[in-house]
């Protein structure tokens, strides 16, 4: 499976304290290396490295997110920072 480096830019109502730990936990469950590059109540940037299919799965999981956040959109761009 080809590996990739991508940035997920997540936008929505992301202010809940649970969100960032949840993001890192979900990335770890998928076996993805990840670093949070930016986080505020409306936007989170996370750089990910791993197989494209698993980054797809990360996007799917984040679209649902934990129950106390609302993810409006996720943009994916190539990243070179990992």
């Amino acid at each position: 499976m080809p590996a990739a480096r991508e940035r997920l830019t997540i936008r929505g109502r992301l202010g809940a304290d649970s969100f960032l730990p949840w993001v890192m936990r979900h990335a770890a469950r998928l076996g993805l290396a990840g670093d949070i590059r930016h986080a505020d109540a409306g936007r989170v940037d996370i750089d990910l490295r791993g197989p494209v299919d698993l980054i797809d799965a990360m996007e799917m999981g984040c679209l649902l997110g934990p129950i106390d956040v609302w993810v409006e959109t996720i943009d994916r761009t190539p990243s070179s920072s990992i």
């Binding site: 979900h26 799917m60 999981g61 649902l64 129950i67």
Partner: protein
């Protein structure tokens, strides 16, 4: 009934087949509330304490609401299209969350494993890429450009074909499936799943169809659909957790689950949470 369920209380739900209402009516329940569908002219739906609920008759069914629906029941234009046969399949009781029943209906990936050699077959198990969107104007979930190989896509099919699908969710416990019409290329057969939420983990499923098929006997069409839903029932009744999680929980959704993800996002956005699990377990 708690306030947190108010958005779903204000929706329409099927509670009976209008054509098969016995003279004594149908005693049933809706979201845990006992109701009686009364065979008056016009048909009424009343609660135990004598409250008359709003009623609409559409797609062969009696629809009602415990609250005050903000809009009319969703439209299925094909129901009025000349030449279609409108098939009332009846009712299947399933011990599962009403939201689980709809989510299962939206899931194509299970076809080869649950409806083996009918709606799917190995090795044709891959779900290709398709489009999913929440249509803002209609406020509905739509999945389009779905394709899947099926050994016997419909009762009228004589061999395997690649079947085109579209899925639509116009209400929290109703889904409309459009699929390739073997008898009339260029048209879509319409198969619906109308789910009556009895309790958070118990529902009556009322399938209904609008087909172009002048050949197949009605009883055969009904038996075909009932067979499909009975196969689903054994899966649905053993799903864990019983309520539909609105976050990923222990599941790892993938791109093949895109319709399910969009459905759950739409439920979450509208706080349609009767039958949903709100805390990951």
């Amino acid at each position: 009934m708690t306030v947190r369920h108010q958005p779903m209380i204000d929706e329409w739900y099927p509670v009976a087949l209008a054509s098969q209402l016995p003279p004594g009516g149908r005693a049933t329940q809706l979201m845990g509330t006992p109701v009686l569908v009364v065979a008056d002219d016009p048909i009424r739906v009343v609660t135990d304490d004598g409250r008359d609920l709003p009623v609409t008759l559409r797609y062969g069914h009696v629809w009602t609401s415990l609250g005050q629906p903000a809009k009319q029941l969703f439209d299925i234009p094909e129901a009025d299209q000349p030449g279609r046969r409108l098939i009332e399949v009846g009712v299947v009781r399933v011990r599962c969350s009403p939201l689980r029943a709809v989510e299962n209906f939206l899931d194509i990936a299970h076809f080869p494993f649950v409806h083996t050699d009918i709606l799917g077959a190995e090795p044709h198990t891959e779900v290709g890429k398709y489009d999913v969107e929440i249509r803002e104007k209609e406020d509905e979930v739509w999945a389009t450009k779905v394709q899947f190989y099926q050994p016997q896509a419909a009762k009228s099919a004589t061999g395997g074909i690649t079947t085109d699908y579209m899925y639509r969710v116009p209400a929290p416990t109703s889904s409309v499936l459009y699929k390739t019409c073997p008898a009339r290329p260029g048209e879509w057969d319409v198969i619906t799943l109308f789910v009556q939420p009895l309790q958070e983990d118990l529902c009556d499923v009322w399938p209904w169809m609008a087909l172009f098929d002048d050949e197949t006997a009605t009883t055969d069409l009904i038996h075909f659909q009932q067979m499909i839903f009975l196969q689903d029932r054994s899966i649905l009744e053993n799903q864990i957790p019983r309520l539909l999680p609105l976050d990923p929980g222990r599941e790892i959704p993938t791109r093949a689950d895109l319709t399910s993800v969009a459905y759950r996002r739409w439920l979450k956005r509208h706080q349609f949470t009767y039958g949903a699990q709100l805390v990951a377990q």
